[in-house]
Symmetry: C2
Subunit: 244 residues, 2 copies
Amino acid sequence: MDEAAFLESYDPAAYERPSVAVDLILMSVVDGAPAVLLTRRDQHPFTGAWALPGGFVGIGESLDEAAHRILVEKARMSDAYVEQLYTFGAVDRDPRTRIISVAYFALLPADRFTAALKSAPELALAELTVPWPGETGGPVEACNGDGDPLQLAFDHGEMLSLAVRRLRGKLDYSGIAFALLPERFTLRALQDIYEAILDTKLNKPAFRRRMLDRGWLEATGERETGASFRPAELYRYRQAEGEQ
Amino acid sequence: MDEAAFLESYDPAAYERPSVAVDLILMSVVDGAPAVLLTRRDQHPFTGAWALPGGFVGIGESLDEAAHRILVEKARMSDAYVEQLYTFGAVDRDPRTRIISVAYFALLPADRFTAALKSAPELALAELTVPWPGETGGPVEACNGDGDPLQLAFDHGEMLSLAVRRLRGKLDYSGIAFALLPERFTLRALQDIYEAILDTKLNKPAFRRRMLDRGWLEATGERETGASFRPAELYRYRQAEGEQ
DNA sequence: CCAAAAGTGTTTTAGTTACACCCATGG
DNA sequence: CCATGGGTGTAACTAAAACACTTTTGG
């Protein structure tokens, strides 16, 4: 990035440039299963297939800003946990023209996730079926309410797979799970998130202790209401210092 | 990425596009310390500062191809372990013009690393001093042979920090360490790599057993030569199946 | 036989899992 | 008082760490 960049600053048309886009993987855990928001394509290419919401990166905005703008504009929500995932740069990933796409994933609690569906009618919820062990390979599939797999546009299936892998990988050592829960939550709800993402049953006492020993949880003293059995204590996530 | 992309395919000049570059973090462990290859900038901006080797992504090549091309062209080596790290997209990260940079890191055994220095005279080796616990924060510093920190151009310091964090994070569960060793190596050499990257002393018997129990190592039956004491057995890395 | 580092066996410790049980609530 | 899920204590197990030890080479 020396001479070439220097020259280009004086002659911006010297090289043909790819377009740069951001695609958003909006994830949540809904009814005990990982879910993602998709839009149905009504134009060429991949007409009728399902795609992640995305858009081009403006010349005056950073990648992170673009991701947040798309979160607001296309998905009608703000203030989600957003993290850069990977940049997809195959030459033919878009048949129309050269587009490099920076994939971001955003995590939301289920209530805000389903609420967004109402205000953004072009979005649809797709359930993710994750082959186990999805840690290493096997494509993730997005399914509609009947469990039928949806056809995904571009390389968006790859993006989904990578998002699920990353989510799994970070679940244990980061506070990422709390982005999928409301501000107050029960330990059972937290365990449900873990079980949905990892696709395993976890031992209740072991899970409780592990979580409480980490020191990330703060008891609110309040209890769940509306249950016909013993109400569970509500906890709050206390951000650890060295957490990104 | 619907209407906008569709329109743009017919009118490529409609939007001003950022340039896309790839920067390479060429790392190794030399003399028991993590090291990186840098070039000294002789032009504006950051004249005299040190930068990672990099270059623009051609319109007809993928990001991975660009990374490999730069590895060959700028660093005069091929066939390294290369992995995409992160994409840096701040608007002002390059004062000349808008450049988005996809950072890759490449890992090499020390012998090939130092050999490359001879054939590429514009490259210099910098030792990395990693604040512990570097897992969470604190910038990594690149130092010359005298231990004086080097001034880094652009956001390349951030790139280095992230590369070290990623290396540390993946060390334990992936075969990444073997990219830093020649084809045959002793368990002591492997432990040295771990200790250099993690910046800790490790217990020898525990380390041996952990490594051998993983099943990634294959004894060659050969032994080290030239030592004036008991020669160590040479091992080979046997790629695990689900390994990327 | 000595120094130096390779390599092994055994005990200790810590962290996780499994299981059994008690507790609190609505009906 | 019963069903249901919340919450806790204890034992069993497993994996890592610490330590002491034996082995093998060159000189």
